[in-house]
């Protein structure tokens, strides 16, 4: 449910850029999806073909580049991936703070013909 409206937005953005470029067809869409964005690539994929029907994006290939989130340790500055139920820095044991890495949710590029 959650990804339905977001997939509509993706198609709208891709169509807009395709149209601006005078394209007759969007061949592929490359998405950058951080694991803390809250959006599931597979779920977007599930809705994509359905919503893309009849648009410039019909039949386009959806390329999803996942990004793993990083925490930064405020004590030693190390960046690391968190372990389950913990934010602890593996180097010094302090609690890491969230960074922007992992929150990505954008269309990187499209290819058109």
């Amino acid at each position: 449910m959650h990804e339905y409206s977001i997939t509509e937005s993706i198609i709208k953005i891709a169509e807009k850029h395709g149209r601006e470029a005078g394209a007759s067809r969007v061949e592929s869409i490359t998405l950058i999806v951080g694991d803390r964005s809250g959006f599931i690539g597979d779920s977007i994929r599930m809705y994509f073909d359905l919503i893309a029907e009849g648009t410039l994006c019909e039949g386009a290939e959806l390329i999803i580049r996942p990004v793993r989130s990083l925490l930064r340790c405020p004590a030693c500055g190390d960046t690391f991936h968190r372990r389950p139920l913990s934010f602890v820095c593996p180097v010094c044991g302090a609690d890491g703070a969230p960074t922007e890495t992992g929150k990505e949710f954008h269309i990187e590029s499209i290819t058109v013909s």
């Binding site: 449910m1 959650h2 409206s5 977001i6 937005s9 993706i10 709208k12 953005i13 891709a14 850029h17 395709g18 470029a21 394209a23 007759s24 067809r25 061949e27 998405l31 803390r36 964005s37 809250g38 959006f39 389950p84 139920l85 913990s86 934010f87 609690d95 890491g96 703070a97 969230p98 949710f105 954008h106 269309i107 990187e108 590029s109 499209i110 290819t111 058109v112 013909s113």
Partner: protein, 218 residues
């Protein structure tokens, strides 16, 4: 044979929502309305907290937008108290977004300056991902949920401006590990005040209302 060309887009998929959200925020600011996005799991006490806070914010006109998947039970209870309440039913959608709130705000009459509580859908995940034009994000959690919630739902805790820990009257009967809860919470969010609350005994409401009044500039 068609030529295939690459176009760099680099466009955030949330841009449209965020754009509408800033419009909503500007509109409300102009009207003298301080909007609070109220987030929390189902049954955590969002409506009870809103009711209790409205009672404490005497002299400040309250408004409520009630987000529910279905039903208008909460809206009716608030209207019975004389609070101007607008109901949004999402019929399945798991969060409010800026276009929904934009529409609701457009349908409400704000005759006086005041505080608008926007009760989001009961859910600790999706509402955190969508800005709805709020001035502050109030997260309600509770001792009955368990102390691991900051670790499991980090985004909601990271984004919150005020965190209310509800149902503390039940703490003696539970194994809520407050130190573990606070450790995770503070790793994500250094600044948000955490206020212990009980909608049953009234504990914490004065403090939470004072925070809202101060932030609203009242």
């Amino acid at each position: 044979m068609h030529d295939i060309r690459k176009i760099n887009v680099m466009e955030n998929i949330h841009d449209e929502n965020d754009h509408i959200a800033s419009h909503v925020r500007e509109d409300l600011t102009e009207k003298g309305i301080f909007a609070i996005n109220v987030m929390g799991a189902p049954g955590i006490g969002k409506t009870s907290a809103i009711k209790g806070l409205i009672e404490k914010l005497r002299g400040i006109t309250p408004y409520v937008i009630e987000g529910d998947i279905e039903s208008d039970i909460d809206a009716r209870a608030l209207r019975a108290l004389g609070v101007k309440t607008f109901q949004i039913n999402t019929f399945g959608a798991c969060h409010l977004d800026a276009p929904l709130v934009h529409n609701a705000v457009g349908n409400m009459e704000f005759d006086e300056k005041g505080v608008l509580f926007i009760e989001n859908i009961g859910n600790l995940v999706c509402p955190a991902e969508f800005s709805i034009g709020e001035h502050a994000l109030m997260l309600i959690c509770s001792v009955t949920e368990g102390s691991d919630k900051p670790y499991k739902y980090p985004l909601a805790f990271e984004k919150a401006d005020l965190i209310l820990l509800n149902k503390v009257d039940l703490a003696p009967h539970l194994d809520f590990d407050e130190a573990f809860f606070m450790k995770g919470l503070r790793a994500l969010n250094k600044d948000a005040p955490v206020i212990k609350l009980s909608a049953k005994t009234g504990e914490g409401f004065d403090e939470a209302a004072a925070w809202i009044a101060a932030r609203a500039g009242r």
